[in-house]
Point group: C2
Chain length 369, copies 2
Amino acid sequence: MEEAGMSAFHGSDLEKIEAIYGIPRERIISFAANVSPMGISEGLIDAMKDQIRCIERYPERDYTKLRRAISSYCKAEPDHIIVGNGSSELIGDVIKYHGGKKALIVAPAYSEYERYVKLAKGTPVYHDLREDEDFRLDLRVLADELERSGDDTKLLIICNPSNPTSTAVRAEDMRDILALCDRRQITCVVDETYVDFADDGYDMSYLAGEYRSLFVIRSMSKFFSAPGLRLGYAITSDEELKGAVEEIKDPWSVSSFSETAAGYMLTDEEYIAKVREYIKGERERICRRLDSLKDKGLKYYEPEANFVLVRLPEGGVTAADLFETSIKQGMMIRDCSTFRGLDERYVRFCFMRKEDDDRLIDLMTENID
Amino acid sequence: MEEAGMSAFHGSDLEKIEAIYGIPRERIISFAANVSPMGISEGLIDAMKDQIRCIERYPERDYTKLRRAISSYCKAEPDHIIVGNGSSELIGDVIKYHGGKKALIVAPAYSEYERYVKLAKGTPVYHDLREDEDFRLDLRVLADELERSGDDTKLLIICNPSNPTSTAVRAEDMRDILALCDRRQITCVVDETYVDFADDGYDMSYLAGEYRSLFVIRSMSKFFSAPGLRLGYAITSDEELKGAVEEIKDPWSVSSFSETAAGYMLTDEEYIAKVREYIKGERERICRRLDSLKDKGLKYYEPEANFVLVRLPEGGVTAADLFETSIKQGMMIRDCSTFRGLDERYVRFCFMRKEDDDRLIDLMTENID
């Protein structure tokens, strides 16, 4: 996805990097995958060692226990939760439900939204965040645009915090948009893949019971350091949509191992608090380091997630240059030139271990001098 | 699926059984799920204990290593293999590819084929196996029917060995049908979920390179005692279809844990030989026991898979009766009355451990006296 240029690799393309640059996969620090560096806990590893035999049975038909664990984690009704094979499956399914219609996508955005809309023979339309507004979403402007849109607009897709900008809107500020979507029968998909990393006040799953139009999507991949689980979930009180998605999706799309592991992970409060605290600290620390590069013409956008979008100084190294330089040091960042609305000056990187982050910032500092 | 009657439970509905009959899930022997009773190997368990951290990384983008392991197991080209989230995902995807068209389904059949055809706005048409031919598929009659079908017939779906009849056609006998499908541009889906249990000569994956129309589907759920893995694969040399299915399907639909475990399982030749030998022996033994019930009016159909379809004597206990009687003893069989072409006299059960199989046959013997 988004692989136009040589350096615009998806964060998971470590095999390709290995082949092209000759660096063993294990030695590459992926600043591009937006996965927490914490890794899974020893407690989980020990627990799962005794659970290998879970693959001998089918997952629960309705994933009742798993939905209960998700419910306790994100404070949504178990009946409002749908589990899926990664958030991708659920994004694909809700888009299929509104196949052939217009989808308003807040951009720049994860390229899978567009891919799924086109697959479902729908038309992607964009609401572009503005650089001169620091890529902050102006909800009044968005509301005006929605009001003016025709009846064939059936989807509004927002990533919050946004990938790749890491900016976010607060949950309470969404009420007007959600009321409008309720009235206009537009499904408002809010992809909260990165919300677990954000401070309180951004997560909007608690609003799903109140606004039928809200369809929140979550993932275990990033915050829980477990992209290999392939486990995502959606939260909605729209019974019709929920029924249709359950009809469209494959039965048992989550494996028994992932089902069992997630039950443990979602209730491990100590681990959850530790990851949140670490990322918050690192986010603040890296922003302070980036502040010192502002006078060289570097700009970044106030991050709420576990990654930051940076605009490199004009006329200096490009995103592709910086990608090349850092990959040779075993550090893989994201060249954002292929994102709609961004160009060859934008890079994105996530917060990893302190020493790795420092190494990357040191390298950036040298290269933009 | 297929849950019309109280007793027509899917083999994985243990939670419902638990709730209705008050029998703990662990105490129920599932003769209805068609899963090998062998369980996973101690070697696999030990190997996977050291691999829990595999969930920290994304699965391989193209599942290269996994496809290589599958290739060595089933003698198909790695490039002809697509992996999926259980065979269901792949069945769903190939049917979607031919959405809106007619699909000729050899019946009685797994109900998911029909469900997916309808979901894809296609029309299911049936080629009914005949009881008076012992549910054996007559390939010449099928070929005639295909010849007469209109150009809107785009799919032929055969389960081989068939679920629920356990009858099968030999691979070499399929050449005429496959040549016809090649010529008529019909995709011939052969669901080989149960072929690993059959004697040599039934598996037709080696024909996929020769006939573009052949789309073989396989699963790790039944033979490898691992329905919780959610891992299936398809084999086809139709590059266009393969590309389209890969485009339709979710990226990384198989988890890292399943990817890693399957790599081990598919190359564990000792385990594979042991399961094949056990099931073959048990299949023959149970048939001999059923032979002794023939004079009471019981009939069964020569099984090639790990389960057998039985027609109960006329006017005696029904499939629902026998389900009730056996579930109370903790044995869950499949009441087949909801399958197209079958009625309340048909039950299906798979081969489990010898002592369990004997207990079930003893109970049947008592109840049909």
